[in-house]
């Protein structure tokens, strides 16, 4: 649930088969499972969520103890969504968190991948596994563990620092809390992103490097002028996943929220949605908020993708 819950799939080989003259059932059989899953697991719930978002539980018959009934309320839930200052504030916090988390995650993953790929590094296999390991730990478990490390009264780090007369700051306090959450996400996600980049680096033909070295390139120049441009597709892919992961941040804050008053129950949009649905018994508002959030992330993803493709892939053509 951290930054990179989705593993990349192999790209479709070619669309040529679909364009052949004689239609055969084969393509439909191939696409069937994916299509069925999409319809059952995505499309139907999505349509149901949109339906829910236009309805609401309203008291009928008056009286202090009237009964709630499910009625059509038009755009009311959407109006509530857009006029709720707290929800807008939570969107702001989410963007602030993303702005901290994504660049550091991507930067450190890239740095680690390049270091591991450099010819002079040793113990690469062990290191790779060690860096990747946190990705295998469930986000909630990781968050709990980090939470105990953060809390001054339970943290061994605070205890050690105190023995030397140093007072460590409470990272769960205001301001630092973004870093505290980003740290957990980065810790969990850096290995996954690093592996993607590393694998991509290994597939660069060795002759290119030989040629560069003959031309007098230093390892740094090779990394900067050859490896990183070659890595662009992998960087876009992992960057995309990281952005989406950051925008969906949930398990870290919800776990830490029970340890500090800094993170309140509507700190991030997904937390606000959970609260609306499961504490305030307002599934309809939660559905409207989900639809808005999903559309927002989709739009943002498309923009990021388009910009990055124009900048990088476009030049290759």
């Amino acid at each position: 649930m951290t930054t990179t819950a989705q593993r990349p799939r192999a790209p479709h080989r070619s669309a040529a088969a679909a364009r052949r003259r004689r239609p055969t059932p084969v393509p439909y059989v191939f696409v069937g499972p994916a299509a069925i899953l999409f319809v059952v697991m995505i499309l139907v719930p999505l349509i149901y969520a949109i339906y829910l978002s236009f309805r609401g539980q309203r008291i009928s018959g008056g009286g202090a103890f009237g009964r709630k009934q499910d009625v059509f309320v038009g755009l009311e839930n959407y109006i509530t969504t857009f006029t709720n200052p707290e929800l807008l504030a939570s969107l702001g916090r989410m963007l602030a968190y993303s702005a901290i988390m994504v660049p550091i995650l991507m930067g450190s993953a890239l740095l680690l991948a390049l270091l591991l790929d450099s010819p002079r590094s040793a113990l690469t296999g062990t290191t790779r596994t060690a860096i990747f390991m946190p990705y295998a730990i469930p986000g909630v478990v990781g968050s709990l563990m980090w939470g105990f490390l953060y809390l001054p009264s339970t943290s061994p780090l605070h205890w050690i620092a105190e023995q030397f007369g140093i007072q460590l700051p409470n990272v769960l306090g205001q301001g630092l809390v973004y870093g505290a959450m980003a740290n957990i996400a980065i810790w969990g996600g850096v290995g996954f992103n690093m592996i993607i980049m590393y694998t991509s680096l290994r597939s660069i033909p060795g002759e290119i490097f030989d040629a560069a070295r003959i031309d007098g390139c230093t390892e740094f120049q090779i990394a900067w002028h050859i490896k990183i441009p070659f890595l662009m597709p992998a960087l876009i892919l992992t960057g995309m996943f990281s952005v989406i992961g950051a925008l969906q941040v949930y398990s870290e804050p919800i776990t830490l929220a029970s340890m500090t008053t800094t993170i309140h129950s509507t700190f991030f949009p997904l937390m606000a949605i959970h609260q609306a649905a499961f504490q305030n018994d307002n599934l309809n508002l939660a559905a409207a908020m989900s639809v808005v959030l999903a559309l927002g992330i989709l739009a943002l993803s498309l923009i990021v993708l388009r910009l990055s493709q124009r900048k990088t892939l476009g030049e290759d053509r």
Binding site: I42, L52, G63, G66, T154, L237, M240, Q275, Q279, S301
Partner: protein, 437 residues
């Protein structure tokens, strides 16, 4: 450009899927309960959702004595999300037959048409309860639940440390603040009289009631919300002052940090419901035997009346196919003499008067305090009648958030009250209730 299409599709798919999990979760949670339509003559099985600790012992006792009406207990974890779970499941026709709710949650169960009226079944048992308790389950003259346990507020204190330093046990909040100063000055200066767990709205409803606040009142068919009242402001201002003068610790309640402070003797009192002594033993095992019970400090010297903190009811759901039997079960479990005694045995503070009288074993946290339960029974006789509104969940969430924000930002927690008031009124209006201005 090929990658673009599948990336986009994948991205969009993942986004929507995650955003929607919030809506689809509940459908899975109820899969376990399929209404077993009993053919006549065959034994029936009632589904029961209850989180009360040790309640399985009482359910086992019922099952052993009633082979024809078996109860299958499911313990939903925690009780924060449970009300919504019950409401959602019941609307879907997949709810349990019997459920548990806190007193504050019962009105929303009634309004959501989840709790079934049991007025006639309940009538013979009404005399088992104090009138104020009967009022808690009665709405517009109809009864919707059977009270299980109650939590009049009380205080427990570390008698070993109080004795060691010669602190007086405070009987008024004024004395409480004075003793707090003594405690800060004593020892290594790392002890506090209490912790201000600002987020604990449930407790503060009780504490503000003690000062005369009524968060919700019904006037005809209108709701009146008075959360931002003078009484509430006084109570929060008192605690804000304690926070400002560093006389209380400020850590979120129930956290590892709070647990370790309680266990290490850094927090010397705890104001909660009388049931707390039953459940605290497992949280602060190092301090068993070092606590004693006392009355909550008074606002007006000489006025001992207190509010409630916690306590819960069992109710029959509207989706139950065997409402008659379900009502029988919960009346036996909570209201019958046998049931009330059984609740006392599992360290509940029974709502039924008979059960309160039968409490003989001191709670696990203070095994030698023979006075604890008799004192609790005495406290219970002097409580405010309480009116819960339809949306305490909204009030509690807003209270926790706003007080937490004030503590984080260093502003006054009193400023949280108008925001909570507004959140509650807005929610009532949005749901279509008449709200008096």
């Amino acid at each position: 450009m090929k990658t673009k299409k599948w990336l986009t599709a994948l991205a969009g798919t993942a986004v929507v899927a995650v955003a929607l999990t919030g809506c689809s979760n509940t459908e899975n949670d109820t899969a376990a309960s399929e209404g077993e339509a009993a053919k006549s003559g065959e034994p029936i099985t009632l589904e029961m959702w209850a989180w009360a600790s040790n309640i399985e012992k009482r359910v086992d006792a019922w099952n052993a004595a009633n082979p024809d009406v078996q109860v299958r207990l499911t313990k939903p974890g925690g009780n924060e999300d449970v009300p919504t779970k019950i409401i959602t499941a019941t609307r879907a026709g997949e709810g349990p037959d019997i459920a548990q709710a806190e007193y504050g949650q019962l009105p929303s169960m009634v309004i959501s048409d989840v709790a079934r009226e049991i007025t006639d079944d309940y009538a013979p048992y009404a005399e088992k309860y104090a009138p104020a308790i009967n009022d808690l389950v009665t709405f517009d003259g109809a009864v919707f639940g059977v009270p299980q346990d109650i939590g009049p507020t009380s205080m427990m204190y570390r008698h070993d440390i109080f004795d060691e330093y010669g602190f007086e046990v405070p009987t008024t909040w004024e004395e409480f603040a004075e003793v707090a100063e003594d405690i800060r000055a004593a020892g290594d200066g790392d002890m506090y009289i209490a912790n201000f767990a600002g987020g604990d709205a449930d407790l503060f409803v009780g504490l503000t009631m003690q000062a005369g606040a009524n968060w919700w009142t019904v006037d005809g068919d209108e709701w009146k919300v008075d959360i931002d009242s003078q009484a509430s402001r006084d109570v929060l201002a008192f605690w804000q002052d304690m926070v400002d003068r560093d006389l209380v610790s400020v850590v979120p309640g129930g956290t590892p940090e709070w647990n370790s402070m309680m266990n290490d003797g850094k927090i010397l009192t705890n104001v909660s419901g009388v049931w707390a002594a039953g459940v605290m033993a497992s949280i602060v095992p190092d301090t068993i035997g070092k606590w004693k019970g006392a009355r909550t400090p008074e606002w007006t010297p000489g006025v001992q009346t207190v509010g409630y903190r916690g306590g819960s009811v069992n109710f029959v759901t509207t989706s139950s196919e065997h409402p008659k039997e379900a009502a029988e079960v919960i009346l036996w479990l909570n209201a019958s003499d046998e049931g009330a005694e059984g609740l006392a045995e599992i360290s509940k503070f029974p709502a039924a008067l008979h059960g309160q009288d039968s409490l003989s074993t001191p709670p696990a946290l203070m095994p030698e305090d023979e006075e604890y339960w008799p004192l609790a029974t005495e406290i219970a006789q002097d409580t405010f009648p309480i009116q819960w509104g339809p949306n305490p969940n909204v009030a509690f969430a807003a209270f926790t958030d706003e007080v937490g924000k004030a503590l984080t930002n260093g502003t006054s927690v009193v400023d949280a009250l108008p925001l909570v008031q507004k959140a509650v009124v807005d929610d009532l209006k949005a749901s279509g209730f008449n709200v008096a201005e």
